[in-house]
């Protein structure tokens, strides 16, 4: 049986910097504010080693610390948190919106969507099965497990190339698998990778399957031009295939999304649904930075505060 809680003035989905900035403003304006996150507060900031460009910090601040401070500040003004929460259902269409977490239903007139983005999974057989046992998403974390070994890197953007530069400190060789004929990374990084004798690049290829034989990873890759399939045997695979917006929760809602799945808003952060706003990396925008996320959250909160 569902237990309905006391309604909130504002529910924020996502506890990254955009959501937390909105919470700080809203709670400080005495709006009963609930922040729901499927993980813990901080978003991508909490896992950023050092943040050097956030105004007000002369020395770089660890991302974990900055994220923690944002959370504490939101709590100080009375924000409630529902963390490590699995949202079972959501309704954004009516005047009263509701969000169901386990057997609890929260209601509100205003929702701010601040769900951010996550690393893209390839959605290829074997990817989840071998995560952490041959497949990795972090060179800093796992590079040393591949000392003097041969690895594949999937991706050709900035993250893939920067992580590859880190990996080169450990590995014997890197084969880059990239879907295009040119790297999308910044030229200076791309040139360093291309010039390194430990690196070779397989252009216009994509992985189709991962498997393991003894301690080796077997990766079936497809030549996108000829459709030929080949199997590459390496000690490990690192995947850096970009980011995707966290909007799968809204698939069956009338929320308007772009072709890439980002939420469309106006300058006030309003979506096409009355009372629903979107802020931070989840919305359509050109630049994705902490400062911009904070700005988005602030704007949305101020818009809602004015209506209350």
């Amino acid at each position: 049986m569902t237990k309905t809680t006391h309604p909130f003035d504002l529910i924020i989905l996502g506890a990254g910097p955009a959501g937390l900035a909105a919470a700080i403003y809203a709670a400080r304006a005495s709006l009963a504010t609930l922040v729901i996150d499927e993980s813990s507060p901080g978003g991508q900031v909490k896992t950023t080693h050092q943040v050097a460009n956030y105004p007000g910090f002369i020395e770089a601040i660890p991302g974990y610390e900055l994220a923690g401070n944002m959370r504490k500040q939101a709590e100080r003004f009375g924000t409630k948190f529902e963390l490590a929460a699995e949202i079972a259902a959501i309704d954004l269409a009516g005047r009263e919106k509701w969000v169901k977490v386990d057997d609890v239903t929260y209601t509100t007139k205003y929702v701010i969507i601040a769900t951010g983005s996550s690393p893209r999974l390839l959605d290829v057989p074997g990817e989840q099965e071998y995560k952490g046992q041959g497949i990795s998403y972090c060179a800093t974390c796992d590079g040393e497990f591949y000392k003097d070994k041969e690895v594949l890197v999937v991706g050709g953007g900035n993250s893939a190339m920067e992580e590859s530069l880190l990996l080169l400190q450990f590995v014997k060789s890197i084969t880059v698998i990239h879907q295009f004929d040119t790297l999308q990374a910044e030229k200076i990084t791309a040139d360093k990778i291309k010039a390194n004798p430990k690196v070779d690049i397989l252009w216009s290829h994509e992985p189709r399957k991962f498997d393991k034989k003894d301690d080796k990873m077997l990766t079936v890759v497809e030549n996108l031009k000829t459709k030929e399939l080949i199997t590459l045997e390496r000690d490990g695979v690192f995947i850096f295939a970009g980011m995707v917006p966290n909007t799968s929760l809204f698939k069956n809602t009338p929320l308007q999304l772009s072709e890439q799945g980002y939420i469309i808003t106006n300058e006030k952060m309003e979506t096409n649904l009355e009372g629903v706003y979107a802020v931070g990396d989840v919305r359509v925008k050109k630049y994705r930075q902490i400062t911009i996320a904070v700005s988005d959250g602030t704007i949305a909160a101020l818009e809602i505060i004015q209506k209350n």
Binding site: E38, S39, S40, P41, G42, K46, T47, T48, H49, Y64, L83, A84, A85, E86, K131, G132, Q133, G134, I135, S136, Y137, C138, T140, C141, D142, F145, Y146, D215, G236
Partner: protein, 113 residues
């Protein structure tokens, strides 16, 4: 050094004491990287949601972390963190690399319910 709200096991003696004295325990052995921090934070949240389970972390770079690294269940692991679930002194599950809150919750339901 781990700088999280989750209590940190300082050595293998503390790990042994935890396993021997707790019916249910979860130990996350890692560093302060992007795959580890989310797991520590989720376990910190779960300390309140599952008061009958002891949640700890352990620094992967300490010598005594060998007590986790050398477990047969962790032999093939190549991704941080190593998260080990104990019940009545025995390993009932172990995972490598980042886990979502749902994945951890599902494991708890499976082996520590």
């Amino acid at each position: 050094m781990l700088q999280t709200a989750l209590p940190t096991l300082k050595n293998k003696e503390e790990l042994k004491e935890l396993i021997d004295s707790s019916e249910k325990a979860v130990v996350c052995c890692g560093r302060m990287g992007p795959m580890c921090i989310p797991v520590y934070d989720i376990l910190e949240v779960y300390r309140e949601k599952y008061p009958d389970i002891q949640f700890r972390n352990m620094d992967f770079d300490t010598t005594d972390a060998a007590a986790i690294k050398s477990l047969p269940e962790c032999r093939t692991f190549q991704g941080l963190p190593f998260t080990v679930y104990y019940r009545n002194g025995k390993v009932v599950k172990a995972t490598s690399s980042i886990q979502t809150a749902k994945q951890i919750k599902d494991i708890i339901s499976e082996v520590l319910a």
